[in-house]
């Protein structure tokens, strides 16, 4: 019962219902008995909690009412996304029907033409097939030789065009590398720390030396999000940069700086960078200090010392935009917000390294 009386006293004290005399007495009690003081503090906090709980509840209630009211008055609209699709179909039904029938007619006439023309050329085609098979055999032999020499320990770093580096730009398995790494290849594999996956070439652009691969292996687990981003803007002279790549079978880190805003013979789609690069570094990402990709390493000038070129990251964006125009099912999404800002280099590399792959093309 005493507790109840104390609670009553605290409530009256806090709400100012006490007479001045009572207040003096109570404050004296509070001073002498720490447990009373504790109770006053605790109760103040509790009342505050209870009041803000009430305010929160009434606010929620009000907001909900306002929502309904505005909805009724038409000041806001709840647009159902599904409704859009239905109306789209309805709107273009005729156009779709026309397009479908034209496609049907063309398909029929082409298959007719093919059927009419093919028989005469059978002999020729078989010859061609033979030659193709032969060339496959040759490339297979070369591969076998490479593997053997590797086993014998006399393995030398693969020449550019055979092995390179690639990095994820979309966690679902899209990888950027150099176009020359995968040029003229008939199969591409990407190696991560302990796994290798089969990949397909989605786009290869020789002008900017950028290729986009997609991992088509069922064992690949998509990444939820990538730590780094693609830098849209241009970068400044002297900016410090770093790269990760596979000049050997182990991942190698290198750093340097941006030395010119154009590439070989004034190529404006590339940068010149000062970094030590070896065959196999091709296709590696060039990061700035904030962990944003500013370029893709493409090659070095053999006639000069320490001159390395990198395709600009803008090219990736441009290629994807063009690809999107040509084929709207292509929905690679780039990350524009780097989560590596203000981290020290060791941590940045640790976060990035899982997204870098060794690209092997045969």
């Amino acid at each position: 019962m005493e507790e109840l009386q104390l609670l009553e006293a605290v409530e009256r004290y806090l709400s100012g219902e006490m007479t001045p005399e009572e207040v003096t007495n109570f404050e004296q009690l509070r001073k002498n008995d720490p447990s009373v003081d504790q109770m006053v503090v605790q109760h103040t906090m509790f009342l505050h909690q209870l009041t803000s709980f009430g305010e929160n509840k009434s606010l929620k209630h009000n907001i909900q009412n306002i929502h309904q009211q505005l909805l009724q008055d038409g000041d806001i609209q709840e647009v159902q996304p599904k409704a859009k699709v239905v109306s789209f179909l309805k709107k273009y039904r005729k156009v779709l029907a026309a397009a479908a029938s034209i496609a049907g007619i063309i398909a029929l006439s082409i298959s007719g033409l093919v059927a009419y023309l093919t028989p005469k050329r059978t002999v020729n085609e078989i010859e061609q097939l033979k030659r193709e098979l032969y060339s496959v055999k040759v490339s297979q032999k070369q591969t076998q030789n490479e593997i053997n020499s590797f086993k014998n320990g006399s393995f030398k770093p693969p020449a550019t065009g055979f092995g390179g580096t690639g990095f994820l730009i979309d966690g679902r398995g899209y990888i950027v590398t150099s176009a020359h790494v995968v040029a003229k290849s008939d199969s591409v594999y990407v190696l991560s720390k302990d796994n290798y996956y089969k990949a397909a070439i989605v786009i290869a652009d020789e002008n900017t030396d950028i290729a986009i691969l997609k991992i088509i292996d069922g064992r690949f687990q998509p990444y939820k999000n990538l730590p780094y981003s693609i830098h849209k803007g241009s970068s400044d002279l002297g900016e410090s940069i770093f790269t990760l790549g596979f000049p050997r079978t182990e991942m190698v880190y290198n750093q340097g700086y941006l030395s010119a805003k154009t590439g070989y013979k004034g190529d404006s789609s590339a940068y010149q960078i000062a970094i030590s690069a070896n065959p196999g570094n091709s296709g590696g990402p060039i990061f700035n200090e904030a962990g944003e990709v500013i370029g893709v390493l493409s090659g070095k000038q053999t006639t000069a010392e320490g001159v390395v070129f990198s395709s600009k990251a803008k090219n990736i964006i441009k290629i994807l935009e063009e690809a999107k125009k040509a084929d709207s099912t292509n929905n690679i999404k780039l990350n524009y917000a780097s989560s590596l800002k203000n981290m020290d280099r060791k941590q940045q590399v640790k976060k990035i390294e899982d997204c870098i792959f060794n690209v092997l093309s045969y």
Binding site: L47, F53, L59, H67, L70, V79, Q80, N335
Partner: protein, 188 residues
Amino acid sequence: MITDSNEKLLLEGLAKDDKTAIETIYKQNYNTIQAFILNNNGSVDDARDLFQEAIIVLYEKAKRGDFELSCQIKTYLYSVTRRLWLKRLQSQQRFSGEINHLAEVVPVEDELDRHNQKAQEFEMMEKALSSIGEPCKSLLEAYYLQKRNMEEIAGNFGYTNANNAKNQKYKCLMRLKKIFFAQYKNED
């Protein structure tokens, strides 16, 4: 710093739970936020939930006397909704790595942490209130939430006088406090 005095008035209104202020904020921002959520695989219900939560976050900020937003209300609400939506996607493992965004964002993480802490406490209070049973729950709500006076409450709840109602209220309050603080300590 914000110079627009209209926005400041809106925030002051919001802090007082003023209907016109909330209505204005709602009208100016709802459709944009909804479009953003719908464009990023959300539903109309998601949009409504998140927008209302964002308003509560803004309210909590205004309530602390913080009327000086470093950005416009529009940007603030967008930033909060965007963060909440990312969190929800991540918790449902639906996050695809990139969110379509166009507008500017401001950092709101700290305030959202504070908001989550508060939401948890409110949940505890809700639980405690519903476990003390009737008539305690209604009695306490009438006095502490609806701020009605003791005479009126005594009449409504059928007590012979205000003093009786008061005694009953103290008993209920004690139980509520016990349950609430028991949970509170467990949470820590």
